[in-house]
């Protein structure tokens, strides 16, 4: 983050932003997808949800880049992205709970999707969906904290790093906790000018890249370790 902050002072911000958001940013998504494909046979159902989320993000990002190149409006895509992202991540976290916990998460998904649709068509249709995106980020942070609370009582016999879900959860928590304020203030930033907007999004992209690198590590961790039965 700090490196990118200093760097953007030194070189042409527009060129740097272009390279970073067009190549480096989707590159991290591609990395997660490639690692996921390499270890796909070892992935469990929750891992596959994260893999599908990475794949979906990659495709959405490519479409987004093309749409921007064609000078078309991408706001509706943001709304759609939030809807699908919420389904993937909520289903991922639901897999750690019993039937009752799952039912609660399914209810949250339904209610949130209704809210997203209402927001897309009646409230923030033409602008960035800061209400739904910020709300989603808030819910993800709750999911993450509950996951940590659950893991700290259940998963006590293994090293933290050996549990691939810890890496996924860390990625999600770091990303959404760090960017929630940016999502909330995004429409104000748009009004502040394109250069300012780009600078903030550079920081966002860096944290996003970290998230997907952590996902790639999680997929790699799915590979079973060689065990020897000892007497």
């Amino acid at each position: 983050m700090f490196i990118s902050f200093i760097y953007l002072r030194l070189i042409n911000i527009s060129m740097f932003f272009y390279i970073y958001s067009t190549f480096v940013f989707p590159g991290s998504l591609l990395l997660a997808v490639v690692v996921g494909l390499m270890y796909y046979k070892y992935l469990t159902e929750p891992h596959k949800l994260i893999f599908n989320y990475a794949l979906f993000s990659l495709l959405a990002n490519i479409i987004n880049i093309i749409t921007i190149e064609l000078h078309k409006d991408t706001m509706m895509m943001n709304h759609l992205y939030t809807i699908f992202e919420f389904v993937f991540l909520s289903l991922f976290y639901s897999s750690f709970y019993n039937k009752r916990g799952k039912q609660i998460i399914y209810a949250i998904i339904v209610l949130f999707e209704i809210f997203c649709i209402v927001n897309a068509f009646a409230i923030q249709g033409k602008i960035f969906n800061s209400y739904s995106h910020t709300s989603a980020a808030f819910i993800y942070i709750i999911y993450c904290m509950l996951f940590i609370a659950k893991q700290s009582t259940e998963d006590t016999d293994a090293n933290w790093g050996s549990n691939s879900f810890n890496w996924v959860n860390t990625g999600i928590l770091v990303y959404y906790a760090s960017t929630i304020l940016m999502f909330a203030a995004n429409n104000y930033l748009t009004n502040a000018g394109i250069e300012i907007y780009k600078k903030v999004w550079l920081v966002h992209d860096t944290i996003f890249i970290i998230q997907f690198i952590l996902f790639a590590i999680a997929f790699y961790k799915c590979k079973p370790q060689q065990t020897i039965s000892i007497s």
């Binding site: 983050m1 928590l173 960017t179 009004n191 907007y197 903030v200 920081v203 007497s231």
Partner: protein
């Protein structure tokens, strides 16, 4: 207006960076704590295992000492007394040389005594194999296999490709491995219905590898049978005591295979 806008982005970047650092620190601290707790638990478990191993070691040692004592007593006391009885019967002269009842009694008494002597010798050798003590594991197991082969209960093929390694084994290790193989052969004869068994000694990477296989019905997993048998428990205890590891092939309804690996580069048990 521009100054205010500049402030907004600086504040947001600072807030994002601050949150990022806060969350990362929280996660790093929780990782450190979790790993610290895990390490403490592992240390405690290792101490418990070490204590259990010490107890096991003492039990096995005293068991071997007791076996040796009983074996020697049987051989020296019972064996000698019975041999004396045989001599006494030989010395007994009948009133008439044509007393057929006496001759029959003499012959049957001598054959019974011979059987007792043989049984006592076998039992005392089983309790404390002298071959193992004086000639090592290879000789002892060869002798044991020869006895079983001669009895016709099982056809055993013994292949020894690790003669030098076997010669270097200490007596407690040789005894443990001998008892394990003895138990495996016993299980094969009693429970598997096998006609053939193979024992293979090979040198590994800083280890001695023993492959044991039979063509019987195999060993059912623990969940299927009510509980782990005493024989298997003995095998586990003996191998644990000498820090050997073992792997068993999964149950497939035919044949039994176990691979034992004894690390030869460890300190003497």
């Amino acid at each position: 207006m521009q100054a205010t806008a500049d402030n907004i982005y600086i504040l947001i970047i600072l807030a994002m960076s601050g949150t990022f650092i806060l969350v990362s620190s929280f996660i790093l601290f929780s990782i450190r704590n979790q790993n610290k707790l895990l390490k403490q638990r592992q240390q405690f478990q290792q101490a418990q295992i070490a204590h259990q191993k010490e107890l096991l070691h003492a039990v096995i040692e005293s068991q071997e000492a007791e076996r040796k004592r009983i074996g020697q007593d049987l051989h020296d006391d019972v064996g000698t007394t019975v041999s004396g009885l045989r001599l006494l019967i030989d010395m007994f002269i009948p009133a008439s040389e044509n007393d057929t009842r006496h001759i029959a009694f003499l012959q049957s008494s001598k054959s019974i005594i011979d059987k007792i002597v043989k049984d006592v010798r076998n039992i005392s050798h089983n309790l404390s194999p002298t071959t193992l003590r004086y000639y090592g594991l290879a000789a002892a197991i060869t002798e044991h296999c020869t006895i079983i082969n001669q009895s016709g209960k099982l056809g055993i093929t013994l292949t020894n490709d690790a003669e030098t390694l076997l010669e270097k084994l200490t007596l407690p290790v040789s005894t443990a491995l001998y008892r394990v193989l003895e138990e495996l052969l016993n299980n094969t004869i009693k429970h598997s219905g096998a006609s053939k068994a193979n024992i293979l000694f090979t040198p590994g990477n800083n280890s001695l590898i023993i492959d044991y296989a039979d063509n019987g019905k195999g060993l059912m997993p623990e969940g299927v049978t009510a509980k782990k048998g005493m024989g298997l428990q003995n095998i586990e205890s003996r191998l644990l005591n000498i820090n050997a590891i073992f792997t068993m092939d999964p149950y497939e309804g035919k044949g039994f295979h176990i691979k034992i690996e004894y690390p030869t580069n460890q300190s003497v048990v």
